[in-house]
Homo-oligomer: 371 residues x 2
């Protein structure tokens, strides 16, 4: 206790002397999101130093082939050059280098979708390294892993942040945290969290049958290269699991009731077989769509948590439903809570895209510094 | 630099040994919001200790008559008893006691609407005390005060939080911060931030003329005791100023173009005169309302920031406008930014009320601890 007070006094002095806070970043993943993030850091570094007295030091960068750690710092703008001069990528060696450096206020940033990386956050926490991740895997696999990671981070006084796991840059996870911590109870979540699926159901029309809508989503880069990964709802399940767990419900993947809108055999076989199968379904989708339209309704692929029960599936909503007017590939998340009871709290906007996701990651990073 | 590292090492050890973080709270204002906050703290203290390893100590409570500081802590549930045994209230003495105690991680919480208190945040920062405030005055008076307070807090490494100043518990200020810090530009804000006015325009109908709508708002406790404070748009101007400033526009009150919907003479004279005047306007409001309704439109009192130009006033919106369906006394805030460009980011929900405001204050407090 006495040590702590001494330390805090010293901190205040130290801070007052240096007059700024520092973060040391170790990034892995320089795909669209990672690249956007580096760009944003490059553009904002001076502003953050001037406005927030926050110094951002990029110390490490890695992709799946190469890694580079430079204690003196890497200019975000020339990260590619740094990577060229780097060493072959090895996640264990990358982490060992971070631990050897042993710089306080270190933040590991995961902009991959990699499972191995997701499984090593625990080791980072044990070395007092905070983790900011756009990677959904850690928080959406077994509950025990999610729980132990959160515990582990807390035990070591570091942060574990994953705001972008649901809704990209939209304030979703932080909002749930604020509600829960202040004692609110999340009674119901209704959400459209797949931009891809929302796009598909928005373009569906007399002229655009289901197969064409899916093709469009793929062409415009809204879907995964294999659109079945979106159509199966796998990504929506992951997001719902994270929403539910953050809301205090210890659910597992198996607890989610999944209603896909394509028959099971669509998800088996080659892509060619898939397109053939979907085309045979175009007519029946169109007949159903017409019927709904005549009733003033639209399809929305909704993830729901109702009294702790998670489910995903297609719902037909009328113009009174907040998701009815959900444009393009937008997301919407509605929270009904003990305090937001008669009218839910609603958050709406782009829920995907490199720039807004990178911005969400960046905001998480800055939050680690608590400025 | 070396001192800082030593301090940080000691901090980590200290944290690891004690294994929890602590906050010391000094509250002023135990009206509806303050009372609700104390209730929430009482209910959540154990949860926060168990789940977040955050120990919340209420050290001081004050209202406009009495103040009480107990270094050993005050049970939130029996704050009234503590106040009864307290001393006569004096803000300077209250603050001096806080400074004498000199406890690290001190947080001053302002749940008043008091101007004198708002003007003394600077002194708190200088003594390394963070401020969490539901009081809009400091951030909405002269820009120079707002700016100097933010600077002052940063200089001393403490937090200045006022999320509840706009939209109560809705994630508004934090969201703007996240956008701006990551390099986004706020191009336009459109917002309904007066629950009172939204209620009035929602109940307006053939059977409920303007004068009755205002009376209802007053009766239901949605308006100030003198409803003219709401009708004049004063509160909306304050909120818009804060939104604009946080968005990076250094505006003053005089910059806001204000279009009131009641003639100027309504705001002069006694309440009785006011009611008489409004009643003479009922017929013309109803005629106008009918015309709008025939066009499928509704009135909304909208605060707007367009390319740095702030304005407030009544707008008629059609069913395509996101505020058209805004129920009851709800708020809506829409951000059009460089990144959320074709579709704005939208946040909607209750924007007033003791419980949700207290929850927002509580979330701000917890954010100071950075857990």
């Amino acid at each position: 206790r006495n040590n702590l007070r001494k330390a805090l006094n010293a901190i205040h002095e130290g801070f007052f002397l240096s007059n700024y806070k520092e973060l040391h970043l170790f990034l892995v993943g320089v795909g669209n999101v990672g690249k956007s993030l580096l760009q944003q850091i490059q553009n904002q570094r001076e502003v953050l130093m001037n406005d927030l007295r926050l110094k951002i030091n990029l110390i490490g960068v890695a992709n799946s082939r190469t890694m580079c750690i430079r204690p003196e710092g890497i200019e975000p703008a020339i990260y590619e050059e740094a990577l060229k001069k780097g060493e072959p990528y090895d996640i264990n060696q990358y982490m060992d280098k971070i631990f050897d450096l042993n710089v306080r206020n270190s933040v590991f940033i995961d902009c991959t979708g990699n499972e191995v990386i997701a499984s090593s956050y625990g080791k980072l926490f044990e070395h007092y390294v905070s983790v900011v991740t756009a990677n959904k895997i850690a928080c959406s696999s077994e509950y025990s892993l999610y729980k132990s990671l959160k515990e582990n981070a807390k035990e070591h006084g570091v942060r574990f942040m994953f705001e972008t796991n649901v809704g990209a840059g939209l304030p979703v996870i932080n909002t749930i945290n604020d509600l829960i911590r202040s004692g609110d109870k999340i009674l119901k979540i209704e959400a459209v969290v797949s931009g891809t699926l929302n796009f598909i159901f928005n373009v569906l029309s007399e002229d655009v049958p289901m197969s064409k809508a899916i093709r469009l989503a793929k062409e415009k880069g809204f879907s995964e290269p294999d659109p079945r990964l979106d159509l199966s709802g796998t990504d929506v399940v992951r997001k719902l699991i994270i929403l539910a767990r953050e809301s205090g419900y210890p659910i597992e993947k198996e607890d989610v009731a999944i209603q896909t809108f394509l028959p099971k055999d669509c998800f088996e076989g080659s892509m060619d077989e898939f397109w053939n199968k979907v085309e045979t379904l175009d007519a029946s989708f169109e007949a159903e769509r017409k019927k709904l339209a005549a009733q003033g309704k639209k399809w929305r692929f909704i993830a729901q948590l109702d009294n702790g029960k998670p489910s995903i599936g297609l719902q037909s909503v009328d113009s009174k439903h907040p998701a009815y007017d959900l444009e393009g590939s937008n997301n919407i998340i509605m929270f009904t809570t003990a305090r937001y009871f008669e009218q839910p709290m609603v958050i709406k906007g782009y829920g995907a895209g490199a720039e807004v996701t990178a911005a969400g990651v960046f905001a998480d990073i800055i939050r680690v510094a608590n400025v």
